[in-house]
């Protein structure tokens, strides 16, 4: 059996996997840099927490509404993001994060600096689910997100996103409504973050604005980039490695944030495609191996 500690770490990592996959839709597939993904995680977490503690929703409807609300807010906030490009977009999404966090922090309705407590774990068949049960739930959500991810990528939507990421103008000339597909990416990605936020709230049982700050957005983006942006495996592996890093590096407690910073820095400097991106050492090595194994395939 897994110890309680390990289960807790795995659940946290699992929630990060959902966050990284959802951000990857916006930034990896559709190519729109977002530095504010934690804001949508926060919107999901607060929606779920408020519905649960004030409106007496049970977890399940609250969970789905959290996704819907985060997605809807994402769609609305995508509109200012469409006006700006590249660096302006990056800073605008960063700004959205700060403003959303400030709203949680200063509006009494959201519990202000105290946050919201008393959010219980989900119940199933009349009893609260155990930690391993929660891990199973998170795993189920990950599976669903991966399924949706694959489905989108194999559909015309995924193709339209790829075209927009590569060349917006040319994509327009190929009959793609660029605005609509960008908003769709922001909506779906934000909805994913909202679902993750809801899980997060019901796992921690209390939430504070600081959980959804810009720092959190950077952690999520780092996971995506670390693993390899725009791939499916990249964000998953990135979330697992960077999510486990604080635990693995527990002996080097004092230095682990320093190491984290240096790791990001060195990775960007020497493996800018992430550890599992198409041009990374590992993947090129893998392809080389496979070609040796099966020569003359082309």
């Amino acid at each position: 059996m897994l110890s309680g500690y390990v289960v807790t770490v795995l659940i946290t990592i699992g929630i990060y996997v959902i966050l990284a996959l959802s951000l990857n839709m916006i930034t990896g597939y559709a190519g729109q840099i977002s530095l504010g993904h934690a804001a949508f995680m926060g919107i999901g977490a607060y929606t779920s927490a408020l519905l649960y503690t004030r409106a007496e929703f049970s977890f399940w409807p609250a969970f789905f509404v959290a996704g819907l609300v985060a997605g809807a807010v994402g769609a609305v906030l995508a509109i200012p993001c469409l006006r700006v490009r590249e660096d302006f977009l990056a800073i605008t999404t960063m700004g959205i994060n700060f403003v959303v966090e400030a709203t949680f922090l200063y509006v009494p309705f959201f519990g202000a600096g105290m946050g919201i407590g008393g959010i219980n774990p989900p119940r199933l068949f009349g009893s609260e689910i155990s930690k391993p049960g929660f891990l199973l739930l998170v795993t189920g959500v990950i599976a669903a997100v991966i399924a949706v991810d694959r489905w989108l990528i194999r559909s015309w939507i995924g193709l339209a996103w790829a075209a927009i990421r590569e060349d917006e103008e040319a994509a327009g000339a190929m009959g793609i409504d660029v605005v609509r597909f960008k908003v769709l990416a922001f909506t779906l990605g934000s909805a994913g973050a909202g679902l993750a936020g809801s899980l997060y709230a019901h796992f921690l049982t209390f939430i504070m604005p600081v959980n959804f700050g810009f720092g959190q957005s950077i952690v999520i983006l780092s996971m995506v980039v670390f693993g390899g942006i725009g791939t499916l495996r990249g964000p998953i592996v990135g979330a697992i490695v960077l999510g486990a890093l604080p635990e693995i590096s527990r002996p080097a407690m004092e230095y682990r944030t320093l190491l984290y910073g240096i790791l990001l820095l060195m990775l960007m400097r020497y493996q800018p495609d992430g550890i599992l991106g198409e041009r990374s050492l590992l993947v090129r090595g893998w392809h080389a191996l496979r070609q040796q194994a099966a020569p003359m395939k082309n």
């Binding site: 489905w151 194999r154 015309w156 995924g158 193709l159 040319a170 994509a171 327009g172 000339a173 793609i176």
Partner: protein, 249 residues
């Protein structure tokens, strides 16, 4: 009726006139050449037709319906396809996917349709046929960014064909190509035209223009200075002056 009618088209940038009162018609089934020295406004004309720029004045009618000011994807869906002067394939996507992006134009407008699988047997075959049609029978899974220029240009044409266009706008298809490559491209353009696609061609390579177009329009400084068959254009003193300049200093 003309397929495309342009009347009084005018476009300015920061007070500089790029196109001034241009009037031209593209007839169904023809290959129309648009020529003129650098900076004459030829690409601006294409950008106005395809909705990348919104004209300041004038109308553009396609099959009788005004299309000026519409957004690029709407115009593309109506059957006007283009290639770019500086080639712009989607570099990280495979050749098949490049064509597939355009092939999807019939699925993008409705959310339900756009969630269906893109790489079906039928759509892949259609894209491979289009690639074959422009002379790219192999290496369909290669990333477009790694192609040599000549093939990038062919790929752009295949991509444009996937829109199932009735009007194809080609912006300097032979630019940067070697002689033999240009000749092959010329053949391709002729063939596409025979298959029923109306073509407007911006081109600097005069042997190509003269070889493939029955009718030419000449722009200079955004003004339409001549129109007619190649032989007449070659003799037209105004055209010669636009290209070669005046002699005296």
């Amino acid at each position: 009726m003309a397929l495309l009618e342009i009347e009084h088209l005018t476009k300015e940038f920061d007070g500089v006139t790029a196109l001034q009162d241009v009037n031209l018609q593209v007839r169904e089934g023809e290959i129309l050449g648009v020529i003129g020295p650098n900076g004459a406004g030829k690409t601006t004309l294409f950008n106005c037709i395809t909705g990348m720029f919104s004209p300041d004045r004038g109308t553009i009618r396609f099959r009788g319906e005004p299309i000026q000011g519409r957004r690029p994807h709407e115009i593309a869906r109506r059957g006007i396809a283009r290639t770019f002067q500086i080639v712009r394939p989607f570099p990280a996507l495979s050749l098949t996917d490049n064509v597939l992006v355009a092939y999807g134009h019939r699925y993008y407008p409705r959310l339900g349709a756009s969630t269906t699988a893109s790489r079906t047997q039928a759509s892949l075959q259609a894209c491979h046929r289009l690639l074959d049609r422009v002379g790219m029978a192999a290496g369909h899974e290669r990333a477009a960014g790694t192609l040599p220029l000549g093939f990038k240009k062919r790929l752009e044409i295949a991509r444009a064909l996937a829109l199932n266009p009735s009007l194809l706008l080609l912006d300097e298809p032979s630019g940067g190509l070697r002689h033999e490559e240009s000749q092959e491209l010329l053949e391709l353009i002729r063939r596409l035209n025979q298959e029923g696609i109306t073509i407007v061609l911006i081109e600097h390579n005069m042997p190509i223009v003269m070889g493939v177009c029955r009718r030419l329009v000449v722009l200079d400084h955004g003004i339409q200075i001549a129109e007619g068959d190649p032989a007449a254009i070659q003799r037209n003193p105004q055209v010669i002056e636009a290209y070669l300049g005046k002699a005296s200093v």
